[in-house]
Amino acid sequence: MRWLSLSLLEVDSLAVEFRTRRGIIRAVDNVSFSLNKGETLGLVGESGSGKSTLGHSLIRLVPYPGLIVGGHIKIGGKDILSCSEEEMRFIRGENITFVFQDPMTSLNPVKKIGAHLVELIRTHKPDISKEEAVKLAESALNDVGISPERIDDYPHQFSGGMRQRIMIALAIALNPDIVIADEPSTALDVIVQAKILDLLESLRDAHGMALILITHDISVVLERCEKLIVMYAGNFVEYADSLSLHKDPKHPYTQGLLRTVPNIELADQKLEGIPGSPPDLLDLPNGCRFWPRCPQVMSMCRKKEPPMIELGDGHSVRCFLYEGAKR
């Protein structure tokens, strides 16, 4: 597929394993997707679904004992899995960046926020002067709605929402092509959360970046993203644009997920939970990983793992129910 090479990010049959004493955990198993300029992709799943691990592997920062064991990640056509660690340091920040989950612990408490930014800028651009770096830092703060006068303040002088803005300033300071935000809003209250997500969207439009939102909250991604990936126990179970995913969810897990989320705009909503709980990744069921909780389970689901089935229009699903619909 030649056209794929136009996209900003291409992930092809990526697999990540955690080699623990209790055994090997496949946290991300054979996933493929691509991302274009200006797009927002939502990665949604419950805890342990592998969504954060997938995010970390895109910048090659899977924490020990995690290991990328297969596949390719191409950013702008370049396979980052074959880059040296030195090259990778520059790809992070300039091509792809990450906004970490917890703004309370991700900033150095004894370092002024300006110093965080200036260090980042001067590491990546060693030939610019300190004054220029400070100017760039100020404009990054300005972009995220923090007054540049506060450049000499310490992290503890900011509220949670403001700290999250500083994290975003760090992520966009070098004008990257792709920003990954891992649960950018979970630690925050709804009002602050909405502001942070609005900010990420406006930066995406202003700088022409692509955005990947990782979250457990399907409401957030349905509202904000064009494309969605639903993950379950390390696998993609469904990949579609958000409109068709909302109107016509295919995978029984996605259907269940949509029936379990309360919608504040509906009166007298009837919600249904999904019985059971997500599997232990060390002890996965045979066949489809969702079958023990699936209301439409068939005998083959227990024997064989379903493949990702292409349904057309960019909608694909990992479920035997749609095998006939394959094209």
Partner: protein, 328 residues
């Protein structure tokens, strides 16, 4: 419906710790006004929700009602009796009737206590059952909260259970004394989405079966809308709006409630977002703004707001609001 809990001008101030030098040079003590004069009543059998952002005082209110904190001022009446005036023996009896479920099922269970011991512990403390009678009761409770077969769970330790199962254990522990009133402090917010609904449904089934009244504390307004009968919205230690769920959600009167509701994500890609922007952040609960405490952020602020604190007043049946904009 009769009233089970009546809260009357309740306040809880926490003194701010000072360093030695500050103590030498200053005379005044600062207070965090976590709960600052709130009044409401919970009716028997209903789900009354306290909702608001972090720091609004909702959890402190829950702790006060569960008698885990003592109020700085004001009264809490349980079935008409002032709990501050009860003697220790009466208080001990009352504690059987009021229970609490905490947010974090990883922290609220003793890691070295088997499930059976943890659930049966309240019976021992209150001297209600021992030995086989206790075991029987524990098994019955585990069954009620859906941990079946209960025999499989009694000898397990908390780390062997998932988050959803632990929260069920916490629930079993809270109902074993046969309470009437349960404070549920964010009982589902630490759980995965696919488990929340199941647990909420369990709570609602238990309410019917055991005739419970819930004080439900949450920051998640979509969940609040799903389960509550009445809801109170808190901001910086005060109730700004209180009413029937349908009223508050379809016809919010306070500008803060309006902004809060507009910020809630809706699982629908076709909806047009209209978030009401609020200026700045929630101010500190030590230096509360004058007049209406929401006025520095309010989009409709006018002169009177910074001078005079609005009182919670009824606009119509079952709907009260504390805002100068709203007239009778």
């Amino acid at each position: 419906m009769s009233v089970i809990v009546d809260v009357d001008h309740l306040k809880k101030y926490f003194p701010v710790q000072k360093s030695f030098f500050e103590k030498l040079f200053t005379r005044t003590t600062d207070y965090v006004k976590a709960v600052d004069d709130i009044s409401f009543s919970v009716r028997k059998g209903e789900v009354f929700t306290l909702a608001g952002e972090s720091g609004c005082g909702k959890t402190t209110t829950g702790m006060l009602l569960a008698m885990l904190l003592e109020p700085s001022d004001g009264r809490i009446l349980f079935e008409g009796e002032d709990i501050a005036e009860l003697k220790s023996e009466e208080l001990r009896l009352l504690r059987r009737r009021i229970q609490i479920i905490f947010q974090d099922p990883y922290a609220s269970l003793n890691p070295r206590m088997r499930i059976g011991e943890a659930v049966g512990h309240p019976l021992e403390i209150h001297g209600l059952a021992m030995g086989s009678a206790k075991t029987k009761k524990v098994l019955e409770m585990l069954e009620k909260v859906g941990l079946t077969p209960p025999e499989r769970f009694v000898d397990l330790y908390p780390h062997q259970l998932s988050g959803g199962q632990r929260q069920r254990v916490a629930m079993a522990r809270s109902i074993i004394l046969g309470p009437e009133f349960i404070v549920a402090d964010e009982p589902v917010s630490m759980l995965d989405v696919s488990l929340r609904t199941v647990l909420i449904d369990l709570m609602m089934d238990l309410r019917k079966e055991l005739e419970l009244t819930y004080l439900f504390i949450t920051h998640d307004l979509a969940v609040a809308k799903y389960i509550s009968d009445r809801i109170a919205i808190m901001y910086l230690g005060k109730i700004v709006e209180l009413g029937n769920k349908e009223e508050v959600f379809s016809n919010p009167l306070h500008p803060y409630t309006e902004a809060l509701l507009s910020a809630v994500p809706v699982p629908d890609p076709e909806r047009n977002r209209k978030t009401i922007e609020l200026k700045g952040d929630v101010p500190s609960a030590i230096h509360i703004p004058s007049g209406c405490r929401f006025h520095p952020r309010c989009p409709h602020v006018f002169a009177r707001c910074s001078a005079e604190e609005p009182q919670l007043r009824g606009t119509k049946r079952n709907h009260q609001v504390a805002c100068h904009l709203v007239r009778k």
